[in-house]
């Protein structure tokens, strides 16, 4: 195997490791942090089913974002939806052997890359030119967008220009990573950049604002059932406190005269 292949193979496992461990830790932290009080925000849902549907609408349609700002919604939606299609299309590289037929359905959607890049550029333009959004942006906010744009553009170059990479070699490399049967990877520069930035993205996922991906599912204002009058909802630390103090408080409070 070439040196570069060895480096990229190693980078893949390292970044994947960071991603899995980091995300695991973060999700565990979200999971174990108690939510001591019910704080759903309107339109609150009175049933668990309502909550599930609300969450589905949030993550598939970006419902709240749609209510707040149509431009951010449009660009955000183009980007995320494009990304989703692109990701599913990429599965063909990682699945050893022939692609299960269900994934063939999506293969024609190669133009999704454009949706993704247009969305990202739109978001970047807003960030640069809309005063309020510029005000709240840190360097990392721009970098993140730029990185995704470079990933998208370098990928699109391979698909839509004459600079194709050797798709079979890519498949051998990528599926090799999955089944530990390592192979050389193509070394065109745009492919290497594409791949490298994807690894970077994986690695910074757990320490960056990309945490909004698991975060949205843990958001108490969105995932709680609004049934506070019907059920007592007490977190472990609050319960402990109650058990420690309940009797004492009932005796002391009110004896102020």
């Amino acid at each position: 195997m070439s040196t570069i292949s060895i480096i990229f193979t190693a980078l893949f496992y390292i970044s994947l490791f960071i991603f899995i461990v980091g995300m695991g830790k973060k999700i565990y932290q979200f999971w174990i942090t108690p939510a001591p009080l019910k704080i759903p925000t309107a339109p609150t849902q009175l049933t668990q089913t309502g909550v599930v549907f609300r969450m589905i609408r949030e993550v598939t349609l970006f419902e709240s974002l749609f209510k707040s700002n149509k431009w951010i919604w449009l660009f955000g939606f183009l980007f995320h939806f494009g990304l989703l299609l692109v990701l599913v299309r990429h599965l063909r590289y990682f699945i050893p052997g022939d692609l299960p037929e269900i994934f063939l359905l999506i293969q024609p959607f190669k133009y999704a890359a454009f949706a993704m890049v247009i969305g990202l550029v739109g978001l970047l333009v807003r960030r640069i030119f809309v005063e309020r959004i510029r005000y709240i942006s840190a360097p990392s906010d721009y970098l993140m967008l730029l990185m995704l744009i470079v990933i998208g553009v370098s990928g699109a170059i391979m698909t839509f220009t004459d600079n194709h990479t050797d798709v079979m070699a890519v498949k051998a490399f990528a599926s090799g990573l999955v089944i530990f049967d390592w192979a050389n990877l193509p070394t065109e520069i745009h492919f290497l950049v594409h791949l490298f930035l994807v690894f970077v993205l994986l690695a910074i996922f757990p320490i960056s604002k990309l945490l909004h991906v698991p975060g949205v599912f843990f958001s108490p204002t969105r995932n709680q059932v609004d049934d506070a009058r019907k059920k007592r909802h007490i977190s472990p630390w609050a319960l402990k406190q109650e058990q420690d103090h309940a009797v004492k408080l009932e005796q002391t409070i009110g004896k102020d005269d």
Binding site: K26, Q29, F30, P34, A35, P36, L37, I39, P40, T41, A42, P43, T44, L46, G50, F62, S64, L65, K67, S68, I72, L123, R127, E131, R132, I133, Y135, I136, S137, A138, P139, S140, D141, L143, I204, I207, S208, K209, L211, H212, G215, V216, S219, P220, T221, R222, A228, R229, K230, K231, R232, H233, I234, E242, Q243, A246, L249, I253, G254, D256
Partner: protein
């Protein structure tokens, strides 16, 4: 101290997103609390020596105790969707009043101390030290947030700046930088039982006067009972209802509705306050202490129903938190001795606790109340959805009931009702500008500026529909509007309680029989 001079905002035809004006609302914030008010709540009397370490430690504690804080600090993508949603930003144009920028005051410190990226690449991710300037910014700008949660409705992840502002205030209190208004009031509530510090005799006198007045005006012996053991309903209402205009007209209205229903009810001198300022300063413990008074009153008075008067955050605390904090509610497991004790006593044919609007609404539905709507014919009414009611609670157990029920009640007693513009009511309602512990004269500038979006929507319906009455079900809204309406050239008396409208139209025809009285007395005795 003389109030700072400031311009009253003009009311535009459409609200435009202002150009940023960094630093216009910079300042010292509200009056600081002193040892006299801090210590009884368990907070240091003044800024402590090692405030920085204590603050960081407290932040760590809060993020591990509240999932909201942890998730909200990690999940913001700086999309900017919330930037134009805060009434304080729209009215003041200070960028630090944009919800995400307000959170970032807290988040940047969180990043610096609790995240990998912020520890090693602070500049890159906008992580900052907690220094004196930052603490000042916290004190100032977290007291320019009414915790109205409008921003949360519009954030794609439901990030609720109110939760962050509560956390920040909790840290501030922990290092001895408390706000005078809230903490002084809390002291009174926790010792005397209400925010005004009205002791039992004063309360009793007020209520007796009220009874006389009502009998004189309406010719019916409507009672306003206090500490009546064995009554069916315990009414917990904001203490402003006992004396202030227009609140007291609401209290008169509740009394008439109870009278007409023939139900026995009482208020408690021990727990005479509905408003729970513990929420504003973010303290679970203090909020719980205040709620425990209500629990105790309910147990002592042996009531079977607990009802809440017209107060926004009282209703939020009651509806969403009482059950958890002190068992006033339903559904406790039988193994839960603490909550079961009270819940076994309560009558679960009714929601516990219940809002007075739910109660009146139910009576109207069942045809138990008759109205002469023409009594309100001089009024064209619009309804102000109070933030805590609109965005954090429900009524009637139906989706959106908190919007439907109050409007139904108003329409049952008035002939002329119109809504303000859709994007400024219901879950998108604009705050009155005085919630969240901001209802103090030292914050008048931000209160007036923050009221601008609400006033703008009101101006439109005044102009187009002839609205001359603004009805609300929140004590803070009522007080705030009384003060700011004239600043925008409205009549300060156009703000009314919903139950004031009920009171005006209700036909009292059920003289309380002696049998009823005897029944109450008997019940009380047998207990």
């Amino acid at each position: 101290m003389a109030a700072k001079e400031f311009d009253i905002p003009e009311l535009p035809t459409y609200i435009e997103i202002p150009e940023l004006n960094p630093g216009v609302m910079e300042g010292e914030g509200p009056f600081k609390s002193v040892a006299e008010f801090q210590n009884p709540l368990g907070f240091p009397g003044e800024k402590i020596e090692n405030w920085k370490e204590v603050a960081i430690e407290k932040m760590g504690e809060l993020k591990s105790k509240y999932r909201s804080v942890q998730v909200f600090l990690d999940s913001c993508v700086k999309c900017g969707a919330c930037t134009d949603k805060c009434h304080y930003f729209l009215g003041s144009s200070d960028p630090k009043n944009m919800p995400v920028a307000r959170q970032d005051l807290f988040r940047s410190v969180y990043r610096r101390h609790f995240t990998f990226a912020g520890k090693y690449f602070p500049k890159l991710v906008g992580a900052k030290e907690l220094d004196d300037d930052m603490l000042d910014d916290w004190y100032n700008y977290f007291h320019q947030c009414s915790q109205c949660r409008r921003c949360s409705v519009f954030c794609p992840y439901g990030i609720d700046t109110a939760e962050i502002s509560m956390a920040a205030r909790e840290v501030l209190d922990a290092v001895g930088v408390g706000q005078k208004y809230c903490n002084q009031i809390l002291g009174k509530a926790l010792t005397v039982g209400n925010n005004l510090g009205l002791p039992e005799p004063a309360l009793r006198d007020t209520l007796l006067d009220l009874e006389e007045e009502v009998e004189e005006d309406f010719g019916a012996p409507v009672k306003y009972p206090l500490d009546q053991k064995g009554a069916e309903i315990l009414l917990i209402t904001p203490s402003a209802d006992f004396f202030a205009e227009p609140h007291i007209d609401g209290l008169i209205g509740y009394g008439k509705v109870f009278y007409q229903d023939g139900v026995s009810w009482t208020m408690s001198s021990y727990a005479s306050e509905g408003a729970n300022f513990g929420m504003f300063i973010g303290s679970y413990d203090i909020m719980r202490k205040a709620a425990l008074r209500i629990r105790k009153a309910a147990l002592d008075l042996e009531v079977s129903r607990v009802m809440v008067g017209e107060c926004g955050h009282a209703w939020r605390v009651a509806y969403s938190f009482w059950n958890t904090l002190s068992g006033v509610g339903a559904g406790a497991q039988s193994s839960d001795e603490y909550a079961s004790k009270l819940q076994n006593q309560l009558d679960h044919r009714y929601p516990q606790p219940q809002h007075i609007i739910e109660y009146t609404h139910d009576l109207i539905q069942r045809g138990k109340l008759n109205f002469d709507k023409s009594e309100n014919d001089d009024r064209t009414v619009t309804f102000h959805d109070s933030c805590n009611v609109a965005r954090a609670t429900n009524m009637g157990g139906i989706q959106g009931g908190q919007f439907i029920l109050p409007r139904d009640v108003i329409k049952a007693v008035c002939n002329n009702y119109v809504d303000m513009e859709r994007s400024t009511i219901k879950e998108s309602t604009f705050c009155c500008g005085g919630g969240g512990g901001l209802l103090t004269d030292d914050l008048m500038e931000i209160r007036v500026k923050g009221a601008m979006p609400r006033m703008q929507a009101l101006k439109q319906v005044e102009k187009n529909e002839g609205v001359n009455t603004l009805a609300a079900i929140c004590a803070i809204c009522k007080s705030q509007f009384s003060k700011v309406l004239p600043k925008f050239d409205f009549d300060p008396y156009m703000i009314v309680s919903v139950h004031q409208l009920v009171s005006a139209a209700i036909i009292l025809d059920k003289p309380q029989t002696e049998a009823d009285d005897a029944e109450i007395a008997e019940e009380a005795e047998t207990e």
